[in-house]
Amino acid sequence: MDWKRFGFIALIIIVLFGTVVMIGQVKQPPVLIITSMLATTIAVATPLTLGALSGVFCERAGVVNIGIEGMMLTSAFFGWLGAIYMFHVFGMGIGISITLGVFFAILTGALMALLHAVLSITFKVDQIIGGTVINILAVGLTGFLNRQLFFGAGSVFGGSVPNSPGVLPTIHIPLREIFTPLCGTSTACLVNLTAINRVFDQKPIAIGAILLVFFSHYILFNTRWGLRTRAVGEHPKAADTVGINVAQMRYLNVLIGGMFAGLAGAYFTIESVPSFEPLLTNGRGFISLAAMIFGNWTPIGAWAASLVFGASQALLINMQIFRDVIPPQWSFLQESYIVGLTPYILTMFILTGIIGKTTPPAADGVPYEK
């Protein structure tokens, strides 16, 4: 465990939250501010976490994947399209349509990853170029199909976007119900409990992402599969000499990475907002990459880094909510574009290596030639 790194991340998050609490406490009780920010942080971090996990699996196996953005965008489109198709054309129920939509998204991510794998493992194409191809292809493919399928002549949907079957429901974890007796007659206690419960009331993909972080950590560092994955990423020749099929390991890990990116795509159109818009991922795939590096190519580190990005977005939102009560000596915080720079400045700081060097897998980005 890289305690220095985690300490630094925790410090940043505490500073960001603390700033808001200090400014906002004249308007809102601190508990409400903190829980609201936590809920935002976790939700915003979800696609970043999944994207970063996608990067971790690919790069741990020695394949650089800058196509995460494109994989997310394509999956967001096909997941959404699949859900609509199941609902409107095949007349399935809402729940089953949405669930199938998530599977379509994961499948799409895997297919895009397969393309990347073929290019970078079989054909040994420069992996940066392979990833770029995926990003460009995704923009074109989704833009083109979005237009043709919904607005083109002879579209199944008669020229207008049909209502999506909806989004995944929030899972209510009944903390409030369990702990209410402890509050007795205190209303303040009840209010706080309700606020705290809100942090835990997340949607399935958000909860799934957190579980997947720990699952990935276990897989990568405590199983034979993980050892082999890291071996082909660090020293493929050594792995090959002991009988590990390097190409196969790389293929499978890139495919797993693609499925993570696919789930991240599903988050956008099936969990967050029930509609697809061209370019809706808006560079989050690249922020995921930064999170992966920030987290030193480990699942838990990448998750922590994603939380920093989530927290800085929560800061941006809340600074504006509390704009009127910002003390005059801190008036620069009123300028939303200055606060908006926080994640980018943080990224630059982190990449300079102030908190310790980040070390990529030794064979990252190097095609394996026997």
């Binding site: 809102q28 609201s36 054909f123 292809l137 074109g140 907002v273 029930p274 574009y337």
Partner: protein
């Protein structure tokens, strides 16, 4: 190795073809002729079917064709801010009579094109001119009035007395005026009803200017954050970002308030909880200016269209009669000038 290059080339070519979604050269070669009246429209970064800004302007152009004013109408979708000038030039070179450019972002490119194509009338939707540009009519709307109307409505309807607005970047003056008008409207309604309403206005201020209008996920998260803090009416102003916010509000059972057009009609996911929309009457505004160009009565400089608020639709029954009366009074007051929002044209 040869095979590999072939595969790469094929992929790159395929991705380029797929990326080139913009319609190819205009179908009508007759636009250079004197008697054929052609209207071209260049969208801001985004799609013609954005359920908002580009779409209403395009409907205005289509209306002018239906009215028999324009003979040929065509649009080009801008995929990247770098292409503004190139897209305008496509119409300029084809001899179009009127070129409508949609959005504040195209202001500079439009002014430059007006110098290159002196015979063409440019209509810049949402392009406020600090100094009059020859050949360009800037179609503006009193966004502060529109924001004022829905701000008053939200404040009057809110039970928690907390309302929110999720907007694109405040670097764009119209967006800023929506947000500030919203605050002023809420304060006005408070004065009328003796209530105290807290107003959260959040602008999406990312470094990427165009990104702030195409980020529904950001809008949704911001709206959720406001609702976590008690807001029960969310105004989404700023393209797809705002759409995300309104949709999230509607899903959570709060009131959603749309922008630019009557979004009850264009945002089906949010329709059941759509209270109203702050409307810029873009469609008639564009159609009127196209007709004025043909008549020769159009002038350079700023032209102002009208603002309004959309019908309550499904929530008609939830809005009390006195709120309806108040809204009609405010609308009339804004139109005749007896009520002013006090919002300056640009951020000080």
């Amino acid at each position: 190795m040869k095979k590999l290059y072939f595969v790469m080339a094929l992929l790159i070519v395929a991705s380029m073809i797929l990326s080139a979604c913009a319609p190819s050269a205009p179908t009508a070669e007759d636009c250079s002729k004197e008697e054929v009246f052609c209207v071209g429209l260049v969208t801001d970064v985004g799609k013609i079917n954005d359920k908002s800004f580009n779409q209403s302007a395009w409907e205005g152009v289509q209306k002018s064709q239906a009215d028999g004013v324009a003979d040929v109408v065509q649009f080009i979708e801008t995929a990247d801010a770098k292409d503004y000038a190139k897209n305008i030039a496509q119409f300029g070179d084809a001899g179009y009579d009127v070129i409508v450019t949609v959005g504040f972002g195209l202001g500079e490119a439009t002014a430059a094109a007006a110098a290159t194509y002196p015979g063409v009338r440019f209509i810049g939707v949402d392009q406020f001119q600090a100094e009059t540009v020859a050949g360009v009519s800037g179609l503006n709307f009193p966004e502060d009035n529109a924001g004022f109307l829905v701000g008053a409505l939200a404040a009057a309807m809110s039970e928690s007395h907390k309302i929110g607005a999720v907007c694109g970047t405040d670097v764009v003056p119209p967006v800023w005026r929506f947000g500030e008008g919203y605050k002023a409207g809420a304060a006005y309604a408070d004065g009328m009803m003796g209530s105290t309403t807290e107003v959260f206005v959040v602008y999406h201020s990312d470094v990427g200017f165009d990104k702030t209008f195409t980020d529904p996920e950001w809008g949704a998260q911001t709206a959720k954050s406001m609702m976590d803090q008690g807001a029960d009416a969310i105004f989404g102003c700023g393209g797809l970002t705002g759409n995300g916010a309104v949709t999230a509000a509607a899903q959570a059972g709060a009131y959603g308030i749309g922008v630019d057009t009557d979004q009850y009609l264009t945002l089906p996911e949010a329709a059941p909880r759509m209270l109203s929309s702050a409307m810029k009457l873009i469609t008639p505004g564009v159609a009127d200016l196209v007709a004025a160009t043909k008549d020769g009565t159009i002038a350079d400089g700023n032209v102002f269209g009208a603002a309004g608020y959309a019908p309550f639709h499904d929530l008609e029954g939830e809005v009390p009669a006195e709120v309806k009366t108040m809204m009609e009074d405010i609308n009339a007051g804004l139109l005749d000038g007896s009520i002013t929002t006090g919002v300056p044209p640009v951020k000080p």
